[in-house]
């Protein structure tokens, strides 16, 4: 069984208890060491913390998204320990009154089922600074080098119930949570920057031959900052714990829990020796901070800020008729997804528009976005322009073969797709007499294919369509041609029968 603790670095602009710039926000990524330090961060005498309103609100948003109750009253506690990355000698955290508690999340599983994951709590705390051992230029330093930029960054710690029984589900949850946090705008979720860190608590239930079960001691794996490491650590422990139990027979119980780290190179967990007093944190309420109370009005305001979440959007997109993998691709990143929603809105909304826009973005515009190395929303077209092109396609006015040319013609400009297509001669010329003439010539030139189509072998129609397209020189749309050929052949057949 696995329970998961997740630390999310919240992307507030300023830190949690002081207004130094916060390195979890894009404005302050990768700043020079010790450049985001105020007297409060450095714990200079006489400084007092003041809580950042936005950090509380972002935490509430995550809590609401995970179905949690929001505490109407929560407080701040000091967790005391000495370490050079913690100038105050204590971390401000929430001990017995977390801001969010008792939630549950229905984790979507492959195949459409869900698994209910209990959320025990989500509380706010501050991050520590960083210790390094390398000087600029790669020279190693014998002592520890302290950088306090990260110190005081708001961290939301989310604790799930031990409701997982596979590494894949844990990873799926972690990824879903990352998506939720990104849609909420509370972090960019860049794993390499440590925006999300995972700590799974793992143990194994072993079924004994003579009936009955034993539970192995819980192992907590600390500080995993990639999905790969998360999966690797859980799978390693699941196997290793059975071996350990065979060797020493130890089972779950008080004092049996241990802490391990993950070795990325050996793909194994390693026992971490802990200080004997590691858990003697002597928590007590922080007298420097007054409690946070949440009234109905504030809660309602924050609730209104919670957008439709990724899983709900995916389900809605599948409702448009899109395949599950297409729906997932459209929801993968927030900005491209919001762009897609805008295109659908420009088209007037609804399943037909959603399907057409989704297919266009994934099949046509994504090629261009990939070439440019950017998201769909940055491929040079506005949502209105994309909607215009989709409309032209849907009405049959624009052939598939001319889409790329039209995109290239209007990208980066404010041109209206329809007038641009007309000006460039990219639109289908709707001349039924001419079309019928081309169709008749193509049928005559492909007698065998025509016979096959008459006999019901519809695959044969491709040859005739191709011939018409060639005759028409790109001014007709394949869909229209197809319909026309079918109509002509049916007419002919009826004629023969008469």
């Amino acid at each position: 069984m696995v329970g998961l603790e997740i630390h999310v670095e919240l992307a507030t602009r300023s830190k949690m208890f002081t207004r130094a710039g916060s390195p979890g926000h894009p404005d302050f990524y990768d700043r020079e060491p010790n450049s985001l330090v105020t007297p409060t961060v450095a714990a200079l005498p006489g400084t007092l913390p003041v809580m950042n309103r936005r950090a509380v609100e972002m935490s509430m948003m995550v809590g609401l998204a995970l179905g949690c109750s929001i505490a109407r009253r929560s407080k701040w506690d000091r967790k005391n320990y000495y370490y050079p990355d913690l100038p105050k000698g204590y971390q401000i955290s929430q001990y017995d009154l977390p801001l969010c508690h008792d939630g549950a999340f229905e984790l979507p599983l492959p195949g459409g089922a869900t698994r209910r994951i209990g959320i025990i709590r989500a509380h706010l705390e501050e991050d520590t600074g960083k210790l390094g051992h390398e000087l600029p230029g790669g020279f190693s330093y014998e002592g520890s080098l302290v950088d306090l930029n990260r110190a005081g960054t708001p961290l939301l710690e989310i604790v799930t119930a031990p409701d997982f029984d596979s590494a894949d589900d844990v990873v799926a949850f972690a990824q879903e949570l990352r998506g939720i946090c990104r849609f909420l705008g509370v972090t960019e979720g860049i794993m390499q920057k440590g925006h999300m860190r995972f700590e799974p608590n793992i143990n194994v239930i072993i079924e004994l031959e003579g009936g009955g079960t034993v539970k192995t001691p819980v192992v907590e794996v600390k500080n995993l900052n990639s999905f790969k490491a998360l999966k690797g650590a859980i799978e390693f422990e699941a196997a290793a714990q059975v071996d350990r139990w065979r060797e020493d027979g130890r089972v779950m119980g008080p004092g049996a829990k241990s802490t391990r780290g993950w070795d990325d190179v050996r793909c194994a967990t390693v026992l971490q020796r802990e200080k004997e007093d590691a858990h003697d944190y002597r928590y007590f309420p922080d007298p420097d901070l007054v409690p946070v109370t949440v009234d109905d009005a504030w809660l309602a305001r924050v609730r209104a800020e919670v957008p439709e979440l990724p899983h709900a959007r995916r389900a809605r997109f599948v409702g448009y008729g899109l395949e599950a993998k297409d729906a997932a691709a459209l929801v993968e990143d927030r900005e491209p997804c919001l762009f897609f929603e805008q295109v659908v809105a420009e088209l007037g909304g609804g399943a037909k528009a959603g399907y057409a826009a989704g297919k266009f973005l994934l099949n046509q515009l994504s090629k261009r976005a990939n070439e440019l190395g950017c998201g769909l929303h940055r491929a040079g077209l506005t949502a209105a322009q994309v909607a215009g092109i989709v409309s032209l396609r849907e009405s049959g006015a624009l052939g598939a073969q001319n889409v790329d040319a039209l995109v290239a013609a209007i990208a980066g400009s404010a041109q209206d797709p329809k007038s641009a297509a007309e000006a460039a001669g990219l639109l289908v010329v709707r001349d039924d007499a001419a079309l019928d003439a081309w169709v008749d010539r193509a049928i005559a030139a492909n007698a065998q294919a025509a016979a096959d189509v008459r006999a019901g072998k519809m695959a044969a129609i491709g040859r005739i369509v191709g011939a018409v397209m060639k005759l028409a020189g790109g001014t007709v749309d394949a869909k229209t041609v197809n319909e026309r050929i079918v109509a002509r052949l049916r007419v002919a057949r009826l004629g023969e029968g008469a």
């Binding site: 507030t12 602009r13 300023s14 207004r19 130094a20 710039g21 916060s22 404005d27 302050f28 020079e32 060491p33 010790n34 450049s35 985001l36 330090v37 105020t38 007297p39 961060v41 450095a42 003041v50 809580m51 950042n52 309103r53 936005r54 950090a55 509380v56 009253r73 407080k75 005391n80 000495y82 370490y83 050079p84 009154l97 210790l131 390094g132 051992h133 000087l135 600029p136 330093y141 014998e142 002592g143 520890s144 080098l145 302290v146 950088d147 306090l148 971490q272 020796r273 200080k275 004997e276 007093d277 003697d280 002597r282 309420p285 007298p287 901070l289 007054v290 409690p291 946070v292 109370t293």
Partner: protein, 106 residues
């Protein structure tokens, strides 16, 4: 430490040494007994509070009635690096330099 142990004279010399270590205070072995007696007296005094019936009383997290002293999310400039390093016993470039912290503690 368990509450019962902390009361009266139940405080042990080992507990005094442990508390001193947590607080990073050096206590000469010859003075542990002196502190043990004094600390035990303090704890015994505070233990009188146990006699008060607080059933049904909300724990008080803060003596003030106020709540929600909150700041806007608007960053300000950090201190110049000279100011940060001024009081540091040692510095390397822009870093504060400290002795290496051993993984197993001190």
């Amino acid at each position: 430490m368990k509450e019962q142990e902390a009361r009266g004279n139940a405080l042990s010399a080992a507990q005094v040494a442990h508390v001193a270590k947590l607080a990073r205070l050096e206590v000469a072995p010859g003075r542990i007994e002196e502190y043990r007696t004094q600390l035990a007296a303090v704890l015994a005094h505070i233990a009188k509070l146990d006699a008060v019936d607080i059933a049904g009383t909300e724990p008080m997290a803060h003596p003030f009635e106020s709540s929600n002293r909150l700041d806007d999310d608007e960053p300000v400039e950090g201190l110049p690096i000279e100011a940060i390093l001024r009081n540091a016993p040692a510095a390397e470039g822009r870093f504060l330099a400290v002795p290496k912290v051993l993984a197993e503690g001190d």
